[in-house]
Subunit: 276 residues, 2 copies
């Protein structure tokens, strides 16, 4: 008898499908409005790198461009190590699906860098903000309206989603929350990539208006190596996100993610489409 | 009689070389230590998009991965619009050069998104910090040791390069400076992309040690459209940069760039290799 696969591992599962190619498929568990949760798409791309036989080192950076919604069903991930140096390796990636005429349509493009990291002088300029312990805070949901939100244990510290969509202008765009997979699952690079995209659109907080919005491009920098991820276990991660500018249909969001011990695991920047 | 080409325009000049391909070459004016200044490489990639006949809209995001130094001499830029939506267009790009055996070697990979922007509700969460006017401050240099630095008029406001490389730990990593092309040149998307990479390595400021360092991946989000860029004219841009984490050979840097009128033109995030 074996344990059931965690829904996260099920969602990012890939089968080899030729040189640099992997076959995957969407799962209902991480469905968003018109396609999979962007974080699970980022995690799936990274998973192709993690299981690629030629991989050098561990993830350092990942940029995902959401060109179009991934449709329900099968897809192909291509992950090509286009250049391998002594300590860094550069990847180009894509997700394609068959189009109406059978020709592949690009749903997602991405690039990534993996690196063999060395012990060096290290220091942080971004201490974890003070926050009550996660077990003293109420989790959100379940039943928040989209399937993927139920795959996370989210405990808002500050900047929770507005209670009323009354168009009252907010004071800022800072959200802080504890988050982890639900059910709990030991943290790894793929799960961390997905967590970087958990924050709801900053424009909703700022405007108290639930306008259509969607990530166009997401970049994640991994400061943690696998040792720090293992030390994080299945504990909560404190995430913080803030917008810098809203202009003519697009805003940006910077984010930081710390483990419960206060180690900065990842930083992120994304640009997001919004309507009106 | 015609005016001489500005060194920036000379450096990013590209000739069509087949479908989605452009021929360029390095110029001494923007040379760094072992290759061109990373900002001019980013600008050159964006220039391929700007002159591509199929371009939709204006630059929204650009991610450049510096896989290896671009060698002195000719190179090929490939810029492919892999997916065009109603209001966004997704690009994959590369810079290649002939290798020892004649096969193309990838020096740089990149992705970009262009967008047809619409007037919407807009607001800023990042006011320009107070700074003395640029004409009240002394410009750096010339003769700072690398050619490309002489292509910029740089006027430090805070966090200037350490005066002594004595290993004394700094208090933070914030640098603010006014910057513009030298000679002055009206701001455009390509010039703005280059300005996002002007900051010297944060690790030098933090450690007062000039350790080897180089950008691995750079992302720029353009909040300005061409109207805001035109309004910026050839005036100085205030740039601000800060590191968030230094860990095991890599640090990140967030940056913001405002025009002299206080409009946030671009935000940026990069991850940088450092030694020791």
């Amino acid at each position: 008898m074996t344990d059931a696969l965690h829904p996260f591992d099920d969602a990012i599962a890939l089968e080899p499908a030729g040189a640099h190619r992997y076959a995957g498929r969407t799962t209902p568990a991480y469905w968003n409005m018109v396609g999979p949760f962007g974080g699970i798409t980022a995690a799936t791309l990274l998973q192709a790198i993690m299981q690629h036989p030629d991989r050098l080192g561990e993830p350092l950076s990942l940029t995902v461009n959401y060109a179009g919604a991934v449709a329900e069903g099968p897809f192909t991930v291509q992950a090509v190590p286009v250049r391998t140096n002594r300590s860094t390796q550069h990847w180009t990636l894509s997700i394609t699906q068959p189009g109406p005429d059978g020709e592949p349509v690009t749903a997602t493009t991405a690039t990534a860098v993996t690196a063999a990291r060395r012990d060096t002088w290290s220091d942080s300029d971004t201490p974890m903000p003070a926050a009550p312990a996660p077990d003293t805070l109420e989790p959100l949901g379940p039943g928040l309206g989209t399937a993927w939100l139920d795959r996370y244990d989210l405990r808002p510290v500050a900047g929770n989603m507005p209670q009323r969509w009354d168009g009252s202008r907010g004071e800022g765009t800072l959200t802080q929350l504890w988050m982890r997979d639900a059910p709990a699952r030991p943290l790894d690079f793929c799960a961390l990539a997905a967590l970087a995209d958990v924050f709801y659109p900053r424009v909703w907080l700022r405007r108290a208006l639930r306008v259509p919005a969607g990530t166009v491009s997401l970049t994640v920098y991994f400061h943690a190596g696998s040792a720090q991820l293992q030390a994080s276990g299945a504990g909560h991660v404190l995430g913080q996100a803030r917008a810098q500018e809203f202009r003519n249909g697009f805003f940006d969001q910077t984010a930081q993610l710390w483990n419960h011990g206060g180690t900065l695991l990842a930083t992120s920047h994304q640009i997001v489409y919004y309507k009106e």
